[in-house]
Amino acid sequence: MDGAALEVEGLGKAYRRYDRAFDRALEFLTLGNAKRHREFWALRDASFTVARGEAFGIVGGNGAGKSTLLKLLAGTTHPSAGRFRLNGRLGALLELGAGFHLDLSGRENLALAGALMGLSRSEIRAKEAEILEFAEIGEFVDAPVRTYSTGMAVRLSFALATAIDPDVLIIDEVLAVGDVYFQKKCVDRVLDFKRSGKTILLCSHSLYDVRNLCERALWLDHGRVSGLGDATAVTNDYATFEREHAGADASSTPRPGLPRVLAARIRRRRDGVEVHEIEAGESIDIGVWWENPEPTRHALQLGIGFLRQDRTLVSAAATHVDGASFDARSGSATLELEQLPLLAGQFTVLVVLFDGDGVHRHHEYALDRPLTVRARTKELGLVRVPHRWRFAPLEAPPKR
């Protein structure tokens, strides 16, 4: 396998867990003859190959083994089973700011972190200008890192890790930090890497980044490989699977005597079947049932919203906003949504019963399963905005 940048065969990592410090001491003092630990396999039986020049994504929930895998590859921890081989120089961005000393200046930290990565002083000095230019920390370069904003520290370590010109770059949850401008800069640099034939291993919570940057992806679940293959397919499978996690905790506990949502269901328009998963652009109807013990005391407004997994409200409809009035007694309502323009992702559907002014919330009710939207196309973003393109030759420069 000459074209492979990374070969992984049956790789596994078991951590030892001790119930008491005494157990660890006993095992140590008997030179491991008295086994007092329980093994916890953070990663098991992982086998895959990453070709040279490929961008490879790694997805999975918390504790799925992503970080363990990356740590193994970066050489900070050692395998308990299987083996792997990396061809070429490795640049690892396991945690931003790792190895930074808060009391040292940015410049000193650069020298130190570079030395820890195995660069010589002259190599670091040669790269210094480039790194500082990319990091854009300006005159802070000689100030202690303690005084840096998170963004500045992030920029500095990203600049350093990518400046050492690795053949294989490992990026762990890095693109998610920093401001939008810098994120774009990072993504651009990662794309530059890709173009120059380098190999990238990207571990991210952002399925979007994985889908956008990577050709292939690996999905880890509880330390085992759950999916491996085309990045779009794997991230979609993962998104589908993840629905078990989201949603449930978004509900509030209804208080006795106050209005409460009894149930809510999503039905697909074309066949009326209850669904939790739709194709982008399908029409759906959301039915809501509620009870109001004292309609005379509690007027009602109704709202239905779509939340992204980070709880960002993507879109919502509310009766007090739309001016749709209805009877405050116990009843039901249907929200008709034509060609839902949400793009691929998972959305928690939240139903809210407000008071008459739409200010106080009586009850928030999240559907027990999130709505998964699958996209057949590689359209970008959260929603699909209706659009078309027009082109014309340049006749005169654009006027203000």
Partner: protein
């Protein structure tokens, strides 16, 4: 065996445990690894020394102040107050007891501080070990070197003051022994440092226990007393045991250098024979320490 070794040479990282042979091999290769990372090491030692006095007004003068003060106290205490005077001293060597104590204390501290601080250095730098792949052997060496530098600064201050104030004859050709003594001291200290730093990762009681051991060891070493019958008549039956202490030889060698083996009563042996006695300890400590370290170092990142 051959198949796995071949696989490893082709770049495979596998789960085969580190065997005794691998550990011994890495113990031989270690000096080279350390030398390749010397820039990192120097920077680390510098930072270590700098951090102790950063933010102080006197800054870099502080490392010079403490040996000066120490020497003043020893000189005053042991020469003037306790009146430890040896028979048949030249008039120009009246301060012999003070110099004896001072040099012994510096040698002891140079060793003990290195080992003591090394015991916790891996745990303290846990985040570094977890996040970056670098030879963790550097960490104990860094503190060992830092304390050796402090010791050498002390000796330097002593040499300058002794020459300028001319209260003590300048040392002679014995100075040529310094590289040998220093190399052996570093090998011995580093060996123990590797051992205790690795042990403390798995058994945190090591660091606590070590400080007790070091206290006892200090009193068992002739730092503040002179193991000769002329000064301590009751020492006789214990002498063979006392002389087996490697630190006895180390302190002795340093003293022989700075005192030009005078007064003769304090130096019953030659410096060469003491170093010959110390050398096996130094080599042994290094081999045992480096081998044990290599056997368990893979697990550091999981345990710290």
């Amino acid at each position: 065996m051959d198949a796995t070794r071949e696989a490893r040479e082709r770049g495979w990282v596998d789960a085969r445990p580190v065997g005794l042979v691998d550990a011994l091999v890495s113990c031989v290769r270690l000096p080279r690894v350390l030398f390749e990372r010397r820039e990192l090491l120097i920077a680390g030692v510098r930072r270590d020394l700098g951090a102790r006095f950063s933010g102080t007004v006197l800054g870099r003068v502080w490392p010079l102040v403490s040996p000066l003060l120490l020497f003043g106290v020893y000189y005053f205490l042991f020469t003037r107050i306790f009146g430890f005077r040896l028979e048949g001293l030249d008039p120009e060597r009246r301060g012999a007891m003070g110099v004896y104590m001072f040099v012994g204390a510096l040698a002891w501290t140079g060793f003990a501080e290195g080992v003591t601080r090394a015991s916790t250095v891996l745990v303290e730098n846990g985040t570094l070990i977890k996040k970056l792949a670098f030879p963790s052997e550097l960490l104990p060496l860094q503190v060992v070197l830092a304390s050796a530098v402090t010791q050498l600064i002390g000796f330097g201050v002593f040499a300058v003051v002794a020459t300028v104030a001319s209260f003590w004859p300048a040392p002679g050709v014995a100075l040529l022994w310094i590289p040998v003594i220093l190399a052996l001291q570093l090998a011995f200290t580093y060996g123990l440092a590797l051992l205790v730093s690795a042990a403390n990762v798995f058994l945190r009681d090591v660091a606590s226990g070590l400080s007790l051991v070091m206290t006892v060891w200090m009193f068992a070493t002739p730092v503040f007393w002179m193991p000769v019958r002329e000064v301590l008549p009751a020492i006789g039956p214990w002498l063979p045991w006392i002389e087996r202490n490697p630190l006895y030889s180390l302190c002795y060698a340093w003293r022989a250098v700075w005192m030009s083996s005078a007064p003769t009563v304090a130096f019953p042996h030659t410096i060469g024979s003491e170093l010959l006695a110390f050398a096996p300890w130094a080599v042994g400590a290094y081999v045992v320490g480096a081998t044990c370290f290599a056997l368990v170092k893979r697990r550091f990142a999981d345990e710290v």
